[in-house]
Point group: C2
Chain length 372, copies 2
């Protein structure tokens, strides 16, 4: 179980196949996020139609509601949300540490208040594993502390705690059908990143996650941290860059050797009327689209682009029909999944390295809004 086979390389980029109890993941792969055991506005059938293979769910949210024990009783996440393919859960760390004023960290764990009802809860590495074993995802994460990248002194403390917690998670883990990934931290400090990469790589885990990026640092800093971290990781384990990203981030990440990505951006943008396109990010609420008979992206093969005009999407948004969010989610997710298909094919056929500049140029406008 959890065998990872590299199938092609292009510079530091690579394609591979990661075996999980719920099917093989062809990498590099982008995972839609189903925070609360649902990819927002989409049925699992619609998610599968996008070509998605891996779906992410959030430990913190599901622990609070409906509860990991309830999901366990219902047969686990796959059965509960009816996603037959691989599932990845985060450890809850990122959400808990984002609670800022309503959490207290010590070396043993974190006490925090629920964002739903203010009730008090405590996560430890052992508890994070227990919750994730109840949820039953194929890929689970060690409990980590993601700290402010600009606080260098504290970053070291948080990184060292993350390492101790990774060892405790590994010791606490009991299910053989789940792959635990340790998480590299170290903020934007190259020395700490290198130290963390070596430590996490030394643990006996089937894969490695890179956390604490896309949390406020610059793109140059993110790339520098990837350039430090990835060469220190073993070739024969998949690397997961957590919570990233934009189309440009995916291209830059794959070029540096990342295998797995997830991000809420495509579905979040969809709820804010924005769509990825080769023209740049479109704000479809804009009146310029009222009579625009073109699809969002003429080159896109998604249901939305094959079926609807920008004029119709703009009408749905103006009329506050939630179907707009569904149709834009379909497009934005498919755009990233299709991009990954393109990158994989290019790694396989040897054209990857020469095409990176073209892809970066094609997608560059999608970090910013355009036409709105």
């Amino acid at each position: 179980m959890f065998e990872f086979t590299l199938t092609a390389r292009a510079g530091r980029a690579r394609t591979g196949r990661f075996r999980t109890p719920h099917g093989d993941l062809v990498t590099p792969v982008f995972a839609p996020v189903g925070t609360q055991a649902a990819v927002k506005t989409l049925t699992p059938a619609q998610v599968a139609d996008l070509g998605a293979t891996l779906v992410l769910a959030n430990t913190y949210h599901l622990y609070l509601r409906p509860g990991d024990e309830l999901i366990g009783e219902m047969g686990g996440l796959h059965e509960f949300m009816q996603w037959p393919g691989p599932i990845l859960t985060d450890s809850g760390g990122f959400q808990v540490f984002s609670l800022a004023d309503s959490r207290k960290i010590d070396d043993d764990g974190v006490t925090f208040k629920s964002h739903i009802d203010g009730s008090t809860h405590r996560f430890t590495p052992e508890k994070a594993i227990q919750i994730q074993e109840n949820l039953g995802a194929d890929i689970i994460m060690a409990f980590d502390e993601c700290s402010d990248p600009n606080d260098h002194a504290y970053t070291k403390i948080a990184m060292e705690r993350t390492h101790r917690w990774a060892e405790r998670c590994l010791a606490a883990k009991t299910r053989p059908d789940q792959a635990l990934f340790g998480i590299v931290q170290g903020g934007v400090n190259p020395d700490l990143r290198a130290q963390s990469a070596r430590f996490i790589a030394s643990l006996d885990t089937p894969g490695i996650a890179i956390g604490g990026l896309s949390v406020g640092e610059t793109k140059a800093e993110m790339h520098a941290m990837l350039d430090v971290t990835l060469p220190l990781l073993p070739e024969d384990k998949p690397r997961y860059l957590m919570g990233v990203g934009t189309p440009e981030d995916l291209i830059n990440g794959v070029a540096r050797g990342v295998d797995i990505f997830d991000c809420v951006l495509p579905t979040r943008l969809a709820r804010h009327h924005a769509a990825f396109s080769p023209e740049g990010r479109l704000n479809l609420m804009n009146a310029v689209y009222a009579r625009d008979k073109r699809p969002i992206d003429e080159t896109c093969d998604c249901y939305t682009c094959r079926t609807f005009t920008r004029a119709y999407l703009r009408h749905l948004i103006a009329a506050k029909e939630s179907l707009a969010g569904t149709l834009l989610s379909i497009h934005n997710l498919r755009a990233l999944i299709r991009l990954m298909e393109t990158l994989r094919a290019a790694i396989q056929d040897g054209s990857f390295e020469s095409r990176v500049p073209e892809w970066l140029k094609q997608w560059q406008g999608n970090a910013e809004r355009k036409g709105g």
Copy 2:
């Protein structure tokens, strides 16, 4: 065009086939409502998967937003919303007269204020036809006045105006590819209903609508009005009972000879966490469903019932995931469409009349909430 062929009878109930430019309607049929050119929360692909054949859209709403001229420029409603099958538009009368304090009626038409921005507009019979010709539905409605059923004196005035307006609509109509239906009014007064039925039946239209019911009268009054009206209508034209209804209403309507129904109830209930079931109407927000592994209805063949537990649906509702509305809309619409399939099959095989009591008993709890 618009040929109506009866294919079987059972008492006053009948099955038929109504030819339209966008395909044949097998009747009796229930039409999902797409008020703003979208069946709420569902893609046209999902609506088609329910077995829906006819979809309704609202003239008042589409006139205001995005505008009937815009939809006309975009190629008409079928092209705009990408519903390839038959579409029916109402005349806007019901919505305009519902505006109560912000409309003024005279014999020529109605002046009203938009619910969106308060701007002033005017509908006349000719304008209602012009808008519906821009929208381009297969079946369109004469402009009518739907009055308070308890104000008998005024009901007569409104009915007579409705008759004059029906003649004006017929004279104003220019498109041969649209079937105009006149609308029978008369409130809950049997004499007025009979007079209206005779008048509307005398017009040269391919079908007849029955308006002004399900607007506050009792079920007994609705049934009495159908019992007066339907026997006075020609057998060879389809009869459309506007804005009705519940599962019980469909059974009672079909038994009295109605061919076409529409109602927002299934999608509206879905947004309020309620689901039709043989156990009665379920409120899936109820905590009793938190660990319920059953589907909403074990006998239902919809995607939701084939795929998800009540526990999952309850979680989606509690977590405020809009996917809950999508999944309940799928179930509630399929429940009514499947009921119509059952009724049609029974009319065809001769078992209809003997089974009416069983169906009414099976669905009776769905007028009221249960388990919540």
